[in-house]
Symmetry: D2
Subunit: 102 residues, 4 copies
């Protein structure tokens, strides 16, 4: 089962700057070999369910190991059985509609 | 690693009524033996990380098997290393503060 | 337009204990006269769109005024035009299905 | 109060293809003159609180007017009082850390 997810990890109890923890999660995704794309409020991740969720778990382990005593994450995740769809497909299907009107 | 999660499963492409799919997810949690509590916009789940996320995956599998071609879920999930905290503890720590003022 | 929402406010930069900030948000909802229900990972809120979102804004203002330099919130929110549905209706429609099987 | 938000609108009861509704929300953001960036599981939005949330409301109104009887949205939104930060700043602060290691 393929999944497209959008992860946002918020370390709590380590001050206001969280970029080093987000960067550590990006490295987890690179090491996992998963397609991913950072944006201003999370990271899109695409892949086989078990690989994506293993990476999500690894993010929590790594952020705790960096000293964060508490983490509050949110994840959107979508699966579909009617057809294959990549992260790029999702963006393109919206942009194609917008272009048609322009 | 213990996790407290809050799951909201939205089946897409099966009409406006989604209660039968939410009920199926509740049964998945019962069968998994996980502590859980339904509310008006999701379900709190508590347990060992791997057990909680196995149940989340099972929910997607079951909802697809019921005929939903597409599912868009959201999950909040929190872990902490500083101390143990249950779902009941979280609610009580807020209610204790509110009671103090009353 | 009526909305059922589920709010989770995470103050960042004030340490690991967040219950006093969540309690302050509960007071905002009481003062606004909005139906609401605290759970282990957020608070269900029900009401007229503008009133619900005014309360959400007030929560951010109050939590900042208590000293939190940064807040990361998540909100699920649903509207429907096909029929009226309360928070209690949503829970009951799932529980009715579960009871039928028991 | 400035806010950086990440919106994901899921129309329910209109079939599996949702791109026309997401495109309609993009047009709402363009018309509102708000900085925004579409990604594979939502749209980043940046601006003054009242303007951002007026656009979020307008999205629900427009998607209902297109025929969707039910909408389930999720929003992440962050505010901070310690300093100004744009969507671009957030991404750059993570990328700078990743570059340093490369």
């Amino acid at each position: 089962m393929n999944v497209i997810a959008d992860q946002c990890v918020v370390p709590v109890g380590v001050g206001v700057s969280v970029s080093e923890y987000v960067a550590a999660c990006e490295r987890v995704l690179v090491e996992a070999g998963l397609s991913h794309q950072l944006h201003a409020y999370g990271t899109n991740i695409e892949g086989e369910w078990d690989e994506v969720f293993a990476a999500v778990k690894r993010c929590h382990e790594v952020v705790h190991s960096m000293g964060a005593p508490r983490i509050s994450s949110t994840l959107r995740f979508g699966t579909r059985t009617d057809r294959d769809q990549s992260m790029a497909d999702k963006v393109e299907s919206v942009e194609r509609r917008l272009d048609r009107e322009a």
